[in-house]
Amino acid sequence: MEIIMAFVIGFLFMAATYLFLTKSLLRVIIGTGLISHGAHLLILTMGGLGGKIPPVLTNGAANGDYADPLPQALILTAIVISFGVTAFILVLAYRAYQELGTDNMDMLKGDDNNE
């Protein structure tokens, strides 16, 4: 199971990297979503998958029978944060599109001569 997860995470990172390198701002934002999800899945995998018993210590529950609850708590926090940030970027991208008239990352370059 961990092997499959590793491939899934690797694929997410790969897709995110591809999207980061494209010119359209919207694709870049989708890329940030994918990279966050890859990171979340990575926490889950790193905590160890499997285990059938709920993570409450009862008599007879040997170590390894239950899934580690901490990664799930961490992911929950991280998901909420990435959700909020993604919402913010989407609104910002829309405003920037209205104001600057483009969503092409090449056109968003700025230097001393082009403020």
Partner: protein, 493 residues
């Protein structure tokens, strides 16, 4: 009563939430913000006194035993950083009254500042790595608001890049935390410090340490990860720029100092050597930037990057002089950078431009500004007896004691380049043929100038009172040097 540790985090948060209900009442907002910051400063001073007398304080949320619950820890380093942060924020808020403009004030500017303070203070206080990530996100969210508030074209363009860089670095933070958790099975910093020496696989821990260096280095703007900082920071108005330049990079620097002294000490020969090399590269890159531009904002922004390098070089030495020097320098830098940004903002408003080549002759009309700018510039470069001197001297001494003679020599030489870069502003703006300056009302001028004077005064006091501050700084450096003090305080029964 260890709950006092949470006070500098909770108080700004509470006031920020209250301010969100009264966006249109600007006068009331200003008054409440001042009240919030004063209350926070008083609480932090009380906390400082307690930490100084009783040693490291810690509390666990919900009374869970230390390695399991979230721990908040206040040692002298973090409480001093919290105090300096809050004081600088108070001056930034005073400076923003005349400069930031009513539309921004009505659009939750003060809430944003207080939320940022919540995040920064929380990052300095927390004793748990995942909690550090959460507080990083709190301060980043507030900084996203502050960098884009006002919605000018350049702000929108630069904030997109700022946010994208930070989202990616946050993802890397989560990845690094995940790896560390799978290796050690804990995220409590004190517990990590106990467990890491017991782990045999040094190689993978070193990898994780470097991954954390990348994450914190992106926030703290070390070489080569500072690329986003100059253009992003030059977009917002000067008050916000001062807030960012003085505080935000210091959070990354603090995180590196904390992790690299407390638990990533398993392979000092590689990680700390890398850190020393990167900090010297940071200093050099910052110097090149500071000398290359004719834009006053850019010059001071590149000086922020130089300071990050100097502090981290001191921290990477891991000996008494180096750590003490790094601490002296980090407090000095927060104060002096805010003061310099304030005066740069004033100069830019007077001339109506940030281009040095269009300035000149301010000394004839505004001599006081000139002299205070000169003092701040000397303080930045570390000319005795001003505030930068003691820190830089100790950092250089630390390098000499530790076979990093080349690093110390580079720091000494680049001090002259730092002085040159800020003196260029002085020469262009204050000397030469007078250029026509904008008329700004006397009261506005005074409101902008007085916070700058007080901050420069603080930095002079800091320089003269170095001897008096010594017990605090040496105690703080002592905790960094002997992690067992920190571990005992957190994991005690």
């Amino acid at each position: 009563m260890n709950n006092l540790i949470l006070f500098p985090v909770i108080a700004p948060f509470l006031f920020a939430a209250i301010l969100m209900f009264i966006p249109k009442k600007v006068k009331l907002q200003r008054a409440l913000t001042i009240v919030a910051l004063t209350v926070t400063i008083l609480g932090t001073i009380w906390l400082l006194v307690r930490v100084y007398h009783e040693g490291v304080l810690s509390m666990t949320l919900g009374d869970w035993q230390a390695p399991f619950g979230i721990t908040m820890v206040s040692d002298l380093l973090s409480v001093l950083l919290v105090l300096t942060t809050t004081v600088v924020t108070l001056f930034v808020v005073l400076y923003s009254f005349p400069t930031i403009g009513v539309p921004r004030e009505k659009f939750y500017y003060y809430s944003g500042v207080l939320f940022l303070l919540t995040g920064v203070n929380g990052s300095f206080t927390t004793g748990d790595l995942f909690n550090l990530f959460v507080f990083f996100e709190v301060l980043l969210m507030a900084s996203y608001l502050l960098i884009v508030i006002g919605g000018e074209k350049v702000q929108l363009r630069e904030s997109i890049k700022y946010i994208l860089v930070n989202v990616i670095s946050s993802a890397f933070f989560v990845i690094a935390v995940a790896y560390l958790y799978s290796i050690t099975g804990t995220l409590n910093m004190a517990d990590l410090a106990v467990r890491i020496p017991q782990i045999e696989y040094v190689g993978i821990l070193t990898t994780v340490a470097v991954l954390f260096l990348v994450v914190f280095g992106l926030k703290g703007a070390i070489f080569p990860l500072y690329f986003w900082l100059p253009s992003s920071y030059s977009a917002p108005p000067t008050a916000i720029l001062a807030l960012f330049g003085a505080l935000l990079t210091k959070v990354g620097v603090y995180a590196i100092m904390r992790t690299y002294t407390l638990f990533f000490t398993m392979d000092i020969g590689f990680t700390h050597e890398l850190l020393a090399f990167l900090s010297i590269a940071t200093i050099l890159a910052g110097c090149i930037g500071a000398l290359a531009y004719f834009d006053v904002k850019k010059i001071i922004i590149y000086n922020v990057i130089i300071a990050v390098g100097v502090i981290l070089f001191g921290a990477s030495q891991l000996n008494e002089s180096g750590l003490q020097g790094a601490l002296y320098y980090i407090f000095h830098d927060m104060i002096i950078k805010a003061a310099l940004f304030f005066m740069i903002g004033l100069i830019a408003i007077l001339f109506g431009t940030t281009d040095l080549r269009k300035m000149g002759g301010l000394m004839k009309t505004k001599p006081a500004l000139g002299w205070f700018y000169l003092i701040a510039a000397f303080g930045l470069a570390g000319i005795p007896p001003l505030s930068g001197f003691a820190g830089k001297l100790l950092i250089v001494k630390g390098g000499f004691e530790n076979d990093h003679v080349w690093g110390s020599i580079i720091i000494l030489v680049t001090s002259l380049l730092v002085l040159l870069s800020v003196m260029r502003i002085f020469i262009y703006a204050f000397w030469g043929e007078p250029v026509k300056v904008n008329e700004i009302p006397r009261s506005t001028y005074r409101q902008m100038f007085i916070p700058s004077i007080v901050l420069v005064g603080l930095s002079i006091l800091y320089g003269i009172g170095t001897e008096w501050l010594y017990p605090f700084v040496s105690d703080a450096a002592n905790v960094l040097q002997n992690p067992s003090i920190y571990i005992d305080a957190v994991l005690k029964e």
